[in-house]
């Protein structure tokens, strides 16, 4: 009986690996199959011949490169912006005590509850009034705002891990509070900032709903919107290039997440678990 436990565990693990990994494998395989093979009824994971043209075709496709550039601009700008404004605020959040902190943390949690669909209507109207609807700057601001709760949550966990004594030592040496922040606290936050930045980048790069509602002109589309257009319009015809485009769109996110792996397990969740 006991000897059967390990094999059973490995069978279960293999099934998990299959469930989690197979779809991605299939997408990659579809991205290197010719359209003839994709439309044939014989189904195999390995392509009969490797058809790399799908990738060049995807890159030549109207709008794909431009929308990738748009995505990159929005993701970089909103990441930089959210980190720059979240670092000081998270410091205050972590060091405060009592009601103000409770209110801040409470807001972070509440902001998760409200359906974006209720917020998106007035948000669209507000941005239209400001002339920022259908505009990459507007989308950047929206992404920044909606990343903030998470960035604040993550960073305040890192701030809380810095011993207050370090700051007090600096203060005793006569440094002003801002100098203490700049020379002692912020450098120690670097790993937290890196993790938060990567996470923010991925959130913005992947984001679909706001971009769908806010952007109307094709020249402003971000990558997810353009890919979605291909599904609707000519998706069935050009399955191979679509798969290739999808693989390319997923690469930055997967790379960053692999780097973040340890942080996601330790830092972020420690904050969530221990509160």
């Amino acid at each position: 009986m006991r000897s059967l436990v390990r094999p059973a565990q490995y069978v279960a693990l293999a099934l998990y690996i299959l469930f989690l990994g197979f779809p991605l494998l299939w997408l990659i395989s579809a991205s290197v199959k010719s359209s003839g093979e994709l439309n044939s009824l014989t189904v195999s994971l390995l392509p009969t011949e490797w058809h790399w043209d799908n990738y060049t075709e995807a890159l030549e496709k109207q709008g794909l490169v431009r929308s990738a550039a748009n995505s990159l601009i929005v993701a970089l700008a909103s990441t930089a912006l959210s980190v720059v404004i979240a670092v000081p605020a998270s410091y205050v959040l972590a060091r405060l005590k009592g009601k103000v902190r409770a209110a801040g943390v409470g807001w972070i949690l509440v902001s998760q509850v409200f359906p974006v669909v209720l917020i998106i209507l007035p948000l669209y109207l507000i941005l239209r009034t400001l002339g920022l609807a259908d505009n990459l700057a507007g989308l950047t601001l929206v992404h920044t705002t909606y990343m903030l709760p998470f960035a604040l949550w993550m960073l305040q966990g890192y701030v809380a891990a810095i011993p207050v004594e370090l700051e007090e030592a600096g203060a005793v040496d006569g440094a002003s509070r801002l100098t203490v922040l700049r020379t002692i606290v912020f450098p120690l936050l670097a790993p937290g900032v890196a993790a938060t930045a990567m996470f923010s980048f991925v959130s913005s790069w992947n984001e679909f709903f706001f971009a769908l509602v806010l952007l109307q002109s094709p020249e402003n589309y971000t990558l997810p919107i353009t890919l979605n257009m291909f599904v609707g319009g000519e998706g069935k015809v050009a399955l191979g290039p679509l798969a290739a485009g999808a693989v390319l769109a997923a690469i930055p996110s997967i790379v960053f997440f692999s780097i973040l792996r340890r942080k996601l397990t330790s830092g972020l969740m420690a904050g969530a678990v221990k509160g």
Binding site: V43, L118, T265
Partner: protein, 314 residues
Amino acid sequence: MTATLTRPAPPSGKRKKPALAQSRRREAIALVLPSLIPILVLSVAPLVVGIFLAFTDARLVRHPDYGFAGVDNFTKLVGNDLFWDSLRIGMIWTVGVTVLQLAAAMGLALLLNSGLRLQGLTRVLALVPWAMPPVVVAIMWQMIYSANGGPLNAFLGSVGLPSDINWLGDFSVALPAVIVVGVWVGMPQTTVTLLAGLQQIPAELQEAAAVDGAGAWRRFTAVTWPSLRPIVTSITSLNFIWNFNSFSLVYVLTAGGPGGKTMVPVLFIYLEAFKNREIGYAAAMGLVLVVVVVLILAVYLRSQFRDDRAVKGR
């Protein structure tokens, strides 16, 4: 972390020097303000306006001209069977995905915590669904579910099962098929969280239970599950909210079809607002959703806390 937070305040004599306290407060405000402004303008204000819109007859037109409509939207909503249908579908989707996510993630987390080989591979694989853009996930699963030449049907055919199922186009299987994708996407984050929780359980507890002759299942129910309870509660609440609010996946996978069988409420409201252009009415629906989510969470969290107290009281 907890230690730094609960440490008594340094004896700086704050209360005796209000001037210092005031300057510190000013500093704090200066540090918070850059975050506060975008939050107020792009998050709090829309929320307030959204609640207000729910009581108007606003339409999405170039020169909006709308009046106060009282609770008209809500009375109209009572008779809107399509909306309540959509809410029912949304509940099946949300509860289905959340529960299956928890079960699947718990299984994987336990496996990853039991010293098997292939851990590295599994851990990396487990992050992929989390990292991928939802649009790419949807495109990928459309290929898996494809009625002709899709690998799922091919596999079913090869083991002698019906191989002509139109997974995303059939009235009865579309919603379960979409739920599976939801589980695939959300499982990793839950797994990582549960694994972090599992690793905090002292090994001595498990060993003591084993010495007392407890089997694997008994050890799970007596040691593991009670220790994980707070984490399970928080990740389940968050998953519930995220799944209830999720839009992109279903939008790209099925756009609510076939025949509205996967029309989750968020999608329904989106169409009401941006296709029918009835934003007042759509806002009222959104408000109903908020109330539903808050009520369900309140009931769930209450029952969890009551159980906690019962356990501690024993």
